[in-house]
């Protein structure tokens, strides 16, 4: 996996990137509207629409062959990425490495956990995971699945219906890792989300992001083909406006004193429901950034 890793030097890249700053913030995209309250309303309506869209699939969320099949398959690469990313920070006791208790004692926050596909798997590796999501039905589904299928993990997992900014108020400098997986592409105000996420992170802790790139191949392959032709994801799940390029994410994180240490490109082979790492971030990518001391 490490062969795809790229180290970025934010200081060198910063100048040219700064010029691209305005384009990528949703706040600027809606700047034609008159008042900030109107803007806020629009954003809330949009968030509500996204939450509703995802809640529609709550009952089928854990069906491996259902609408979330690709998300189930994504665990195959994102769990090892997070696990090895945490190990690489040197905060894992070497006795735990290569055991199923590898994340023992690590406090992890998953922002936008849905019905807990990733949450449960991280808890199974010993981590203490908090999963927050805005969808009440999703959290209900997550809780019921946990108690039914993996009751032994109940003490390791805490689900909450809570927006991240609210969670950040009471959990400053609290987590060893924060995960924003397949969430950023559904959020209008990415800066606010990332800012609050980073605030909950201990210095030296890592934020892991997986999302879609904002490229033409991704739009054609992921949305046009994926949602409207092959039905790999439900129609209306992804929108061009909300997709974001890795350099933009990296630049936002730079402003929050988070240094990006890893960007891996990935792609999805729909014919065998398998994700794999590739040498290009044209389609999807995973990013790890470390909060500076």
């Amino acid at each position: 996996m490490l062969r795809n890793c790229t180290l970025f030097y934010p200081n060198r890249a910063n100048k040219s990137l700064l010029r691209r700053l305005p384009r990528c913030f949703s706040l600027d995209q809606t700047s034609t509207t008159t008042g900030s309250s109107h803007q806020q309303e629009q954003q809330n309506a949009d968030t509500a629409r996204e939450v509703k869209h995802h809640e529609n699939f709550a009952s089928d969320w854990w069906n491996k062959k259902g609408p979330m099949a690709a998300l189930h398959a994504l665990n195959e690469i994102r769990v090892p990425l997070i696990r090895d990313g945490i190990i690489a920070r040197g905060i894992v006791n070497s006795a735990y490495i290569n055991t199923t208790n590898v994340l023992n004692g690590q406090r992890i926050l998953e922002v936008g956990c849905g019905a807990g596909l990733l949450t449960e798997q991280l808890a199974r590796l010993g981590a203490q995971v908090t999963g927050i999501d805005l969808g009440e039905e999703l959290i209900n589904k997550a809780r019921s699945h946990l108690t039914e299928s993996s009751p032994e993990l109940c003490s390791k997992v805490d689900y909450k219906v809570q927006p991240i900014d609210q969670h950040a108020k009471t959990n400053d400098n609290h987590y060893d890792a924060v995960i924003v997986s397949e969430v950023l592409e559904h959020v209008e105000d990415k800066v606010a989300l990332l800012e609050a996420s980073v605030r909950t992170l201990k210095p030296g802790g890592s934020i892991f992001i997986t999302t879609l790139n904002k490229t033409l191949p991704m739009w054609l392959g992921g949305i046009v083909l994926g949602e409207y032709v092959l039905n790999l994801a439900p129609k209306g799940t992804h929108h061009w406006d909300k997709m974001i390029a890795p350099l933009d994410v990296q630049r936002i994180l730079d402003t929050m004193h988070c240094q990006t240490v890893l960007i891996n490109g990935s792609t999805y082979d729909f014919w065998r429901n398998t994700w794999r790492w590739i040498n290009s971030t044209q389609f999807c990518y995973a990013l790890q950034a470390v909060k500076q001391e």
């Binding site: 491996k64 090892p80 290569n98 798997q121 991280l122």
Partner: protein, 467 residues
């Protein structure tokens, strides 16, 4: 291609069986008390099942799992290296030996007894075609002949080391299995014929060609009998002092291949695949009669195909060899057969279209069964073991449940990709050599001789067959 192999109709019957089983289970389990839970239950304590348990116990990621091995036979009696050779032996390939080394079973086996094979000679009864398999300058062995019981003994030693997490239950026959899924159940539940029942995250079927686990999984299979039987026996050889018995011999007769695999300097194991009446006849013969029949099988002249011989001569001339007999050796004379070692078993082909489902997986003969002519059957099973342990360890280290089909499917993909070509190859060889039709004899002779004369092709063949 695999889709084509699925017989239609089998799935209907299977689903009926499953629904019946579910109803049975629902009524019976209501009364039983809470059952014991294991992470992994292995059904079947043969070579593959016990080796799998040993391999799991030696894996760092899986070492702390609770594992139960269910075996239908009474407790294993152990192995004595001073006892006469057992009649069930296997040709173990280099890659299987690597597996034994990795799980600390190899020293145990080497210390007892095993016979390395330096060279293999395979030849055709209907023409002059022959092929030798060996590594350059005999640098390494082609295979190793090991008694099945010794492999099981070595594996049990590792399983005992892993107690109390690893348990063996003898005289345990699986009655029925309920898989997780539709009924809202999250574990696999196993019920034994004596009424005991267990639950587990993953049930592994290592219970042979008539696998109960496979039937309960409702997997479609492609299976047929070859209408042939294999006769095994341990025979004494007439070998001069100082000569080394380290060549494996196999001659393709019109009725099937006859093979001698070295067991010691003076003894070899016979595997004679032939028609059912002939096998019965051989089994009933007096020892002296049997020895004569066997010696005749290796030396007798069969009607030859002249065209094939001429073509081979031309081919050999092209490659610059003098005549066709250039490298032919003959096996040593058999001078006796060990008492009570003669036994027969039927031959068949079986291919399971799927090796895994949620909560269960298949390994070894439960998933595939082939003709013994290439000695690949159990090696495929050991390949499954290696693949399955790696997959389970990677899955557990990524937080997957052990029985999660999302991850288990990786094992299936890798194993199918490795096993199916070998299965097709072995079945193809059987079909090719079970006829005396002239064009086929000509083609197979030319093919064999061409392989013999083209080292790169031969090496490729050896690599895929012997690891």
């Amino acid at each position: 291609m695999l889709l084509m192999l699925r017989p239609k109709g089998a799935s209907v019957a299977a689903s009926q069986v499953r629904s019946l089983v579910k109803r049975l289970l629902a009524t019976e389990t209501a009364s039983t008390p809470a059952e014991e839970h294991y992470d992994i239950i292995i059904g079947g304590g043969g070579m593959v099942g016990t080796t799998l348990a040993a391999a799991l116990s030696k894996n760092r990621t899986l070492a702390d799992k609770k594992v139960l091995l269910l075996e239908a036979a009474p407790e294993f009696k152990g192995f004595s290296a001073s006892a006469p050779f057992h009649n069930r032996v296997s040709a173990i390939s280099q890659s299987s030996i690597e597996l034994f080394k990795a799980i600390d079973c190899w020293t145990h086996i080497e210390k007892a007894r095993c016979k390395p094979v330096k060279q293999m000679q395979v030849w055709d009864a209907n023409s002059d075609a022959l092929i030798h398999f060996q590594h350059d300058n005999f640098a390494s062995d082609v295979a190793c002949i090991i008694e099945n019981n010794l492999i099981i003994d070595a594996a049990y030693a590792r399983i005992r080391d892993a107690a109390p997490n690893y348990k063996v239950l003898n005289k345990a026959r699986i009655q029925c299995v309920s898989l997780p899924g539709k009924s809202g159940e999250h574990n696999t539940r196993v019920q034994l014929q004596d009424g005991r029942s267990f639950s587990c995250d993953l049930l592994i079927g290592a219970d042979g060609a008539n696998s109960v686990v496979r039937k309960q999984m409702g997997v479609d299979v492609l299976a047929f009998n070859y209408d042939r039987m294999s006769l095994v026996a341990n025979v004494d050889l007439n070998i001069e002092e100082g000569c080394d018995n380290s060549v494996a011999w196999q001659r393709f007769l019109p009725s099937g291949p006859v093979a001698l695999l070295p067991l010691s300097d003076k003894q070899s194991s016979l595997v004679w695949s032939t028609t059912v009446p002939h096998a019965r006849q051989l089994l009933a013969m007096q020892p002296s009669e049997f020895v004569d029949a066997l010696n005749e099988a290796f030396c007798r002249q069969y009607p030859r195909l002249e065209v094939a011989d001429k073509a081979l001569q031309a081919l050999n001339a092209f490659f610059g060899h003098q005549g066709s007999q250039h490298q032919r050796q003959y096996p040593p004379r058999v001078c006796g057969v060990q008492e009570r070692t003669r036994a027969t078993f039927p031959l068949g082909f079986l291919h399971a279209s799927s090796y895994v489902c949620n909560g269960a997986a298949l390994v070894g003969d439960a998933a595939h069964r082939i003709h013994p002519l290439a000695g690949q059957g159990v090696n495929l099973g050991f390949g499954d073991v290696r693949e399955l342990v790696d997959t389970l360890a990677a899955g557990a280290y990524a937080g997957f449940k052990l029985g999660d089909s999302q991850h288990l499917i990786k094992y299936e993909r890798k194993s199918l990709a490795r096993n199916v070509p070998i299965m097709i190859g072995v079945h193809g060889l059987h079909s090719l050599y079970s006829t005396q039709l002239s064009p086929v004899v000509l083609l197979r002779s030319l093919g064999l001789q061409l392989t013999e004369n083209l080292p790169p092709i031969k090496k490729l063949f050896m690599k895929s067959a012997m690891g």
